[in-house]
Amino acid sequence: MSTTMSAGSTRSPRDEHHDPAPSDPAAPRGAAAPHPAAARSAGPRSAAPDPAEPDPAPSHPDLAGAVDQPLQVLAVDGTRRPEAQLDPCLRDVDEAQLAALFLDMSVIRALDDEAVALQRQGELGLWPPLRGQEAAQIGLARALPERDFFFTSYRENGVAWCRGVEPAEMLSVWRGTTLSGWDPFARRMATPQVIIGAQTHHAVGYAMAMAARGQEDIAIACFGDGAMSQGDVSEAMVFAASFRAPVLFFCQNNHYAISEPVALQSTVPLSHRPLGFGIPSLRVDGNDVLAVRAATRLAAERIRSGAGPMFLEAVTYRLGPHTTSDDPTRYRDETELERWRERDPILRLDRHLERLGAPVAQLRTEADERGREAADALRDAVAALPVPAPEALFEHVLTSEHPGLARQREQLTALEASLAPAGSAS
């Protein structure tokens, strides 16, 4: 286990504040003591309150009270726990909805596993597995209407799934046939961002534009714990707070930025940081699909009401490597992994369904079948992804081709023609 820490710190990267709630279902979730910063986070503009505007905080009096202890609805053993803040957002959840969430998570895991296999077989250059983060992504995306716009990082294939992106479209970038798998406007999801944290600005700008037009759409910025150290993320929170942008900052704390533990990015829970920017935040168990879904609804409702941005930290865990090129055994041990496998998000919902007396065996079979079908279809679709013609190199650099580029394109075409075997059609 690496002990590399930020300067002067002697904390372990697995400090308790980076772990979700205790797994003992009998233990009451500690009524989280308000963080000292909570008093200042009552409203997005509490530093300079506008007396003409109602304080948005009262409708959610505890909004900043849960920044330390992740909010949880489903205990690790699958029991449903009362959660005063989130329960009102879960009244509509019935068995059919639980089954749908279970299938979503299961199918995206099957697709993710298939992508790993395809990479191992040389069909993809690289793949960033999401295993372990299914609840965070599905809970988020299934809580929001289609009109809201996602600006994500590159691991959010669960979000893409919910947005109707074809699995082969998700993989096309990693096969190297294109730089963008889908039409961002058709899916209401921007091309996943590779530069860490850069997309948070885009979400804020998009949200500001929506607000200026009087539209109710919100934007969602998805990023990870590593991004919290990027200047862009801090700047984005400054802009969002100052302009009350209708944007949801959704941070999946999966505990690692490649090999670096989250404690290297922050010595306090990540959910504390937005408070300093005047953005209320919640810390939620990211392996609990119902908690994520409910917290997202709570946040989205608040944002849509005009109260400004909000921040959710979904505490989860990346069970696989950072990418298929990574070797996580160099920086974390089996004991830690075992602890998190026990908190597997799909297993948790499975246990919950079982406790409810749902026909879970049938559901598991259906999930397996659908997953296998989706994976088989993905394998075929990936093999069929078209390789663009060499001339495509030159397309869309600007909105119209300039003479210098036309000249380079013609030179390439001439070279290729000169290399073609004699007698072949040019």
């Binding site: 730089l179 850069a198 885009h202 700008g205 862009d232 984005a236 600007l398 210098g404």
Partner: protein
């Protein structure tokens, strides 16, 4: 036609664009109440409101990155970077995001941003206020990089830049902001083309931005010595209008390129390479360049030595003509 300063001409172009299109907005530091440190946006917030003339937090990456998101939503942001030396915190958003989104998305996402940057020296400023960063951006595929040289050109080029669906880095020569000229605010420039500002037979003098005025002054001085210079304002640094330069050199046989930026891996490197590729056989002398030295921008007391002036330009002209120059005199 009205006589106005370059600053007023830019202000008029921005005001017209804001009035003509609801999607156009301005964003930058101190551009609202103050009207910008150079007053280019003077009065625009009063006229168009704080939602369209936005005073941004002091974060250049944020200014550009937020504008990217706005462009996703169909807006046409015009960003002001307060000084040339302040653009570097926005470098990732410019070269890794703005420049690539159209290409990345196969043409689905357009980035009709204008990034206004007052650039260049000659105002006795402290460090980071006199830079010429154009080569960084001209090197980046997906960005248009344009410069302006006089009030009419500033107004016409700004109008064209805002109307353009590509991202445009628009470099404004800050030491020329207060120069006056006749301006027809209804004209729109062609962003792709260089301008031949003075016809001449003996040598081609290529400049852009702040040195266009200097080049014209040098040509006037050369005339006294019986030397007839052709002066070209490149205006667009990317894409480069190499055809206009090559056509001129075919007639004159001689080339001098002048800019404030350091010479190594610069616009002069590119222009001279293009001329060699396009019309090598027409050259009667080795091309010359007159540029800032390969040093960080110096303290103000030394900037007159660093910046290409009339004497240095004419010295280079003399060399291309085989006349006695400073290098022989040494």
């Amino acid at each position: 036609m009205t006589t106005m300063t370059m600053a007023a001409a830019l202000n008029a172009a921005l005001a017209d664009a804001l009035a003509a299109d609801e999607d156009v907005l301005l964003i930058g530091e101190d551009i609202g109440t103050l009207g910008g440190v150079f007053r280019i946006t003077d009065g625009l917030q009063d006229r168009f409101g704080a939602e369209r003339v936005i005073d941004a937090p002091l974060a250049e990456s944020g200014i550009v990155g937020t504008s990217v998101g706005m462009a996703y939503a169909g807006r046409r942001p015009v960003c002001e970077i307060q000084f040339d030396g302040f653009v570097f915190p926005a470098f990732d958003q410019l070269v890794a995001q703005v420049a690539r989104l159209h290409y990345r998305t196969g043409g689905r996402v357009r980035m009709p941003l204008v990034i206004r940057i007052p650039f260049g020296g000659g105002i006795g400023a402290v460090e980071h206020h006199s830079e010429s960063p154009e080569a960084f951006f001209a090197h980046t595929p997906g960005l248009r990089v344009v410069t302006v040289a006089d009030p009419q050109d500033a107004c016409s080029t700004m109008r064209a830049a805002i109307a353009c669906d590509d991202p445009v880095i628009l470099l404004e020569p800050k030491r020329r902001y207060w120069g006056k000229g006749e301006v027809d605010t209804s004209l729109t420039a062609d962003l792709d083309s260089a301008r031949v500002l003075r016809r001449g037979r003996d040598a081609t003098l290529v400049a852009y931005g702040p040195l266009v005025v200097t080049a014209l002054e040098a040509a006037a001085a050369a005339e006294d010595d019986g030397i007839d210079l052709e002066v070209i304002d490149l205006r667009s640094l990317a894409p480069l209008d190499r055809d206009t330069v090559a056509a001129s050199v075919r007639r004159t046989g001689r080339l001098v390129v002048a800019h404030e930026a350091s010479g190594t891996v610069s616009l002069s490197s590119e222009v001279i390479t293009c001329v060699i590729e396009d019309c090598f056989e027409h050259l009667e002398a080795a091309p010359e360049r007159v540029t800032g030295y390969d040093v960080p921008y110096p303290p103000a007391a030394l900037e007159d030595h660093h910046l290409p002036g009339i004497d240095r330009i004419l010295d280079a002209v003399d060399r291309t003509l085989g006349r006695r120059s400073s290098r022989e005199a040494a």
